[in-house]
Amino acid sequence: MTGPRIGKRGALSRRLSLAALSERLAQHQLAVLAFIALLVFWELVVVVFGVREIILPRPSRILAVMIEERALLIRNMWITLYEILVGFALSVVVGIGLAVAIVHSRFLEKTLYPLVVAFQNVPRVAVGPLLVIWLGSGIASKSVLVLLVCFFPIVVNAATGLKDVRQEMINLLVALRASRAQVFWKVRLPNAFPYILSGMKIAMTLAVIGAIIGEFIAAEQGLGLIIMIATAGLNTPLVMAAIALLVIMGGALYALMSFLADTLAPWRKLP
């Protein structure tokens, strides 16, 4: 069947075209202007009042440090990004797996789901040091912390999407003697797809936080470690440069997830 593919590709190219991009920029024109105004204001305040660099460096100085230290920053950014992506991928697999288990079995819904919800009340940051004891101060402990921090919205969204199928649809399929597997693959899972994507969107913001906290606790590399070391040396411009890079990276990851959520489920956004 070529119909839906053409539809998808059409939507994709529409969103990727230059015209669409400039249109989106135009939509956010005010926000961009406000951001630039804030930077200018910040710069002026620091210069006019002579604020010491150790307290608050100027934006232009932060940018200069970012360029100066780009090798160091980017090398460590890759590490942090890697931890995030591994942990995030794990959380997607674990999250969807748990949701499927919960939806498929009354027993697991009664036993596992309350545990998952209860676990949500455990401050995951507090588990961080334990992970270092179990997994060491390398990448593994960070990725597992990312997993623990961000699987919850995926479980909840996936479970909701798997369940949110009208009873008539199920009856229709049962009347046709459909197997549970057929109901799952043909109706429940595709129905959950947009829910899972929006769960992943929420999870992505948490993943960045999880990785940085993990690196704060104990790390050998990563932007979190750079921030810790720079702070210890009162090198505020480098701290801010690392934070700026984190903001850019986190923003890019979130934008990517939003983009995927909007384009992979084209039926959600048809004209």
């Binding site: 119909g3 649809m169 229709l172 009347a175 003697r177 129905n191 048809l270 004209p271």
Partner: protein
């Protein structure tokens, strides 16, 4: 008299039989449906229509009595039935054609070009020839309901169950869809069991109308309508039949109040 396709015999369904106050949805329902007949079930809400649908397609079992399809009692899900509900219940991530082909995907190992052509001809029959690759969202409510009728027909079932299929549509679209349905019924030559609360609709469409009472649902009377189609809802005979059925339902409602 053509061959009997379905025989409903002393059909009774009681929910929670172990509780103090069991709920009897259907009580001793008896009627038959001829092959190719257009039969309506009319009754007040609570006359057990969803229960009847679940029993007729075999996904629920009666407490006593049975429904026979060509003489064989229905004891489990039968794929030999097409169902259309009040809402279209289409899968929004599938195109119109893919939605229509869903029963084929469940029943057959693979969808062949033969099935696709058949689905295409059904879409043409309901006036949706150009919409095979459209998504449900792009269609109006009436168009979506036609897609669900195609889906009910695609695996060539012996009979169709329609549960107020046009109940959610506006009055004008509803009238149009009723005419369409008669045309489709005439061309597809299917036995049709049509469930509705709308008496005029039942009189307009059916060969016979089974009038049900409410709580528990049981047969009050069966009204045969012989006048040729298309029927004129403003005609004297039509209105007399309509009034007769309304009286039957009214009487049973009055019985209940006593």
């Amino acid at each position: 008299m053509p061959e009997r396709l379905l025989e409903v015999e002393h059909l009774t369904k009681t929910y929670f039989p172990d509780r103090k106050e069991p709920l009897t949805a259907l009580a001793d329902l008896t009627f038959s449906v001829a092959d190719g007949e257009f039969l309506s079930l009319v009754g007040p809400s609570g006359c057990g229509k969803s229960t009847f649908i679940n029993l007729a397609c075999g996904i629920a079992q009666p407490t006593s009595g049975h429904i026979r399809l060509r003489g064989e009692p229905i004891t489990g899900p039968i794929s030999d039935v097409g169902i259309a509900f009040q809402a279209p219940i289409l899968l929004e991530w599938r195109t119109v054609l893919q939605n229509v082909l869903l029963p084929i995907e469940i029943l057959e190992r693979r969808v062949t070009s033969f099935h696709r052509e058949h689905a295409g001809s059904l879409l043409k029959l309901v006036g949706l020839a150009g919409f095979a690759d459209a998504y449900p969202r792009e269609l109006s409510g009436g168009m979506q309901q036609r897609v669900s009728i195609c889906r009910a027909l695609v695996h060539n079932p012996s009979f169709l169950l329609m549960d107020e299929p046009f109940g959610a549509l506006d009055a004008m679209t509803r009238d149009k869809m009723n005419l369409e349905l008669l045309r489709i019924w005439g061309q597809a030559r299917k036995t049709l069991i049509f469930i509705t609360h709308n008496i005029a609709e039942a009189v307009f469409l059916s060969d016979r109308v089974v009038v049900l009472t409410g709580r528990p649902g049981t047969v009050r009377d069966i009204v045969g309508i012989d006048s040729p189609r298309p029927r004129d809802p403003t005609g004297a005979e039509f209105r007399a039949t309509e009034a007769h059925i309304r009286n039957l339902i009214g009487e049973s409602a009055a019985d209940e109040d006593q």
